[in-house]
Subunit: 138 residues, 2 copies
């Protein structure tokens, strides 16, 4: 997977340097499709004996989010979660209130409807947050 180029380009675009730490964090995030907290990423690295600081994890994630390589998920009170955005089309999330499971969904009709609604009010949608908090049907 030659996705390391994506990191290099993003850093270049931001006028930032390519460092070992940034590479490790990038590898950690792109090696999974989970929805993880900054702390999870930090701990996962530490378990592999890669010691980058929490500060650097947060700082690097910021750059990745800003450059559309990582998606930030704000779920109510819980700490923000982050997911790898490479090879991943846009989707929204369904959060199971019983298990905490996060299910991704995408619906074109829904996307269009949003745009229409905004337009009716004289706006265009730049981004959106759509989360369904659900329970399993018994």
């Amino acid at each position: 997977m030659e996705n390391i180029e994506l990191l290099v380009e993003a850093l270049k675009k931001e006028g930032l340097r390519f460092t070992e730490q940034r590479k490790f964090i990038w590898d950690e995030i792109t090696s999974s499709n989970d929805h993880r907290e900054a702390e999870d990423i930090f701990l996962s690295l530490r378990k592999k004996n890669i010691n980058v600081s929490r500060a650097t994890v947060y700082r690097t994630i910021d750059v990745l989010v800003k450059n559309n390589l990582v998606r930030k998920l704000d779920i109510g009170d819980a700490p923000s979660k982050y997911e790898n955005k490479i090879d991943s089309h846009h989707h929204d999330h369904m959060i199971c209130l019983e298990t905490g499971d996060i299910i991704e969904f995408y619906n074109e009709e829904l996307e269009n409807l949003q745009d229409e609604i905004a337009k009716k009010h004289g706006y265009k949608v730049i981004r959106h947050v759509h989360q369904l908090f659900v329970k399993p049907i018994k």
Copy 2:
């Protein structure tokens, strides 16, 4: 507006006492349809020389949210905002990225679509968060 009864009932239901502070906070929240932070509510009371503590503002809001009298809005990183829910049907929010304005919207088709999507995955929607971050069409 005899809505004070709603507070009294909610408190009764929760086995909580009716106090001056809770009444002041209730009055403050129900006297406006704004989307305000706990701090705004606290300061607004203070400006009227009503000195309730922040702790009590937060504790009271919790009860009101739990009893469906107040809606809690989590907008990304910003502090939570609260809005009076009395006489107000369900709606979602559009947040203008340029002005910070919050526009309410409701669309039945969209609501139904959500339910359908969840159902297709074997879930039912308990609550949802739907926010459009928008910019004005020039």
